[in-house]
């Protein structure tokens, strides 16, 4: 699904990512961990086109015979190819309603042109109805159907994180990137989130790449884990391997 080769990202003097390699198979849940400032979010930003990498390849293969080089594409193009994300520092459309937030996630798949929407032509109305139904379904999935008309920024923190996931799901992604989805959640909410991630993976046929600080979440959910420190990949493997890896324990688990 995704193959990252020798990825480098430099900001002036700061080297946020220094030769990252990774391979994510279709249908996997893969974790990315590392101390604060290790460069995890930067890797997400590069995959989704927010930054163009200083060097390296990002090969995305949503199907057996379909391959795209993501490096150099803009974020909107990448989202259209089926790579969508959430943000560590929640970026909802704060002044808009909960429903509108999810509805906007559908926009990239719209076929009607703008004039059909203004004149509300039949073929657009069919499309719009489908988009609203899908949005409402997603809201129901995250348990926000009753808050659909509330302002997104008025939701509690945990709900905002879920809303971001619903918004991302509305884009019909194949690869979903989650940046610290459990941040700020209590243990109860965290357990629900793990369940929720498993559920959506099944239902929407997703491949998931996630950054997380809660070790229990990562260890519980990932099939494969990459560990980053100061922009360098220091370990990779399945959860049990990572837990036993000395460098990881030293650089990260011991401190955290």
């Amino acid at each position: 699904m995704l193959k990252i080769e020798d990825l480098h990202m430099r900001f002036g003097g700061v080297v946020a990512c220094n030769g990252f390699n990774a391979e994510i198979e279709t249908g996997q849940i893969v974790g990315l961990i590392g101390p604060n400032g290790a460069g995890k979010t930067t890797i997400f930003n590069v995959i989704t086109g927010v930054y163009k990498p200083t060097a390296g390849q990002i090969l995305y293969s949503p199907a057996a015979n379909e391959h795209h080089q993501l490096s150099g594409l803009g974020p909107d193009k990448i989202a259209k190819l089926g790579v969508c994300r959430t943000f560590q520092n929640i970026r909802l459309f704060g002044e808009l309603s909960v429903l509108e937030n999810v509805f906007i996630g559908n926009h990239l798949r719209v076929k009607s042109d703008v004039f059909s929407t203004v004149f509300r032509l039949p073929h657009y109305l069919v499309e719009e109805k489908r988009m609203y139904e899908k949005s409402l379904y997603l809201l129901e999935k995250i348990g926000l159907q009753d808050s659909r008309d509330e302002k997104a920024s008025s939701l509690p923190y945990g709900m905002q994180r879920r809303l971001e996931i619903a918004r991302a799901l509305a884009t019909d992604p194949k690869l979903l990137l989650l940046d610290e989805p459990a941040a700020g959640m209590n243990p109860q909410e965290t357990m629900e989130l793990i369940q929720f991630i498993r559920e959506i993976k099944q239902e929407f046929d997703l491949t998931i790449f996630l950054i997380e600080h809660h070790m229990d979440v990562i260890m519980e959910i990932s099939e494969k884990i990459y560990v980053l420190d100061h922009g360098l990949l220091i370990a990779e493997g399945d959860p049990s391997e990572i837990q036993q890896n000395e460098r990881v324990v030293e650089a990260y688990l011991g401190v955290g």
Binding site: G49, D76, F87, L96, N106, T117, Y124
Partner: protein
């Protein structure tokens, strides 16, 4: 549920507007009719600027320029051939325009389209600039358009301007266009493209991550804004009958900005109301600028006082409103500090 209950209200408002305009035309004098016309034109202008600035979150100050394009288009296209010869005595008008004399409707359309064409042509490259740079660049465009119109003697008659443009604009035209603009922008914002504009306003990074092309949507919003501004400029030409490049200074853009800020960034109904109020106030407060005779005393007006009042209102509204907003968002994360 909301949807269904809204339709009759819309129809009632529409009917009231038509009856109101009919009665106004029967019973009001020319000066009052003129204010009604201006209100309608300013509704269109306010909405078109609000689409760009309030709903899509760009900051364009080019409205005077787009209006100038529309006004000159209508002026040149509708003016009778003999009138053209009288106007262009310094230098004859370019041959391909010398013999045209179009009706008002096609001229208004042309005004909108040419405004879109030029607006997008010069606007598209700078739309990716952030707030303040975009503001100054679009302001620059408006100035360039004014300078060009002052210098293209055989096309625009230069600094002399155009006189004797047929007075086609009446309340049906000005408010007809205003209603069409209200309808168009309401339905645009109801649909998925309008929602995408709002998303861009709220958070460009998140909007792009959701697959929304910033360039495409910004150009789209800008183009619609240019269209209606151009048409409104055309109506203005048909109302005043006389135009010259100096009418289209930044003061004009300032008036529209005032309407948009008072009515609320992103608010359609608010813009309509504030357009009418500002237009009427501009006239009512004219006494501040000009001498008035109250029968027993003559008060001397002070030129400029009117705009002083309006500037103070603008600053106060911005500050008071923002204070409220900051108060409300204090407990939360800084959603407004996203540069």
């Amino acid at each position: 549920m909301n949807e269904k209950s809204k339709t009759p209200v819309t129809l009632i408002i529409l009917a009231l507007t038509i009856v109101g305009l009919y009665l106004a035309n029967r019973f009001l004098d020319a000066y009052q009719i003129r204010i009604i016309n201006l209100s309608g034109i300013y509704v269109t202008l306010g909405l078109s600027m609000n689409l760009i600035n309030g709903m899509t979150g760009m900051f364009s100050l080019g409205h005077a320029g787009f209006m100038a394009i529309g006004a000159y288009t209508v002026g040149i296209l509708t003016m009778p051939v003999t009138m053209k010869e009288m106007n262009f005595f310094m230098q004859p008008i370019v041959p391909f325009l010398a013999d045209v004399e179009w009706g008002f409707l096609p001229s208004l359309f042309a005004a909108g389209l040419i405004s879109v064409l030029l607006g997008v042509l010069i606007g598209a490259p700078v739309l990716r600039l952030t707030d303040d740079y975009l503001a100054i660049a679009t302001l620059g465009f408006a100035e360039i358009i004014r300078v060009v119109f002052t210098n293209t003697q055989s096309l625009t008659n230069g600094a002399l301007g155009l006189k004797g443009i047929p007075n086609y604009t009446n309340t049906w035209w000005s408010w007809g266009v205003a209603l069409i603009t209200i309808w168009f922008i309401s339905f645009l914002m109801k649909g998925t493209y309008g929602k995408a504009f709002l998303a861009i306003r709220e958070d460009e990074v998140a909007a792009r991550a959701m697959g929304i092309s910033l360039f495409k949507h910004k150009v789209m919003s800008f183009a619609f804004g240019c269209f209606f501004a151009g048409v409104a400029g055309g109506l203005m030409a048909g109302l005043l009958g006389t135009i010259d490049p100096n009418m289209f200074r930044i003061t004009l853009t300032f008036n529209i900005l005032l309407i948009v800020v008072l009515g609320g960034l992103g608010k359609i109904g608010g813009t309509v109301v504030s357009a009418v109020i500002v237009t009427v106030m501009m006239e009512v407060l004219r006494f501040l600028d000009e001498a008035i005779d109250l029968g027993f005393v003559r008060l001397k007006g002070i030129p400029g006082m009117r705009m002083v009042v309006f500037s103070i209102i603008l600053i106060l509204v911005v500050i008071v409103r923002e204070k409220g907003l900051l108060q409300r968002t204090k407990g939360r994360e800084l959603t407004y500090a996203k540069n």
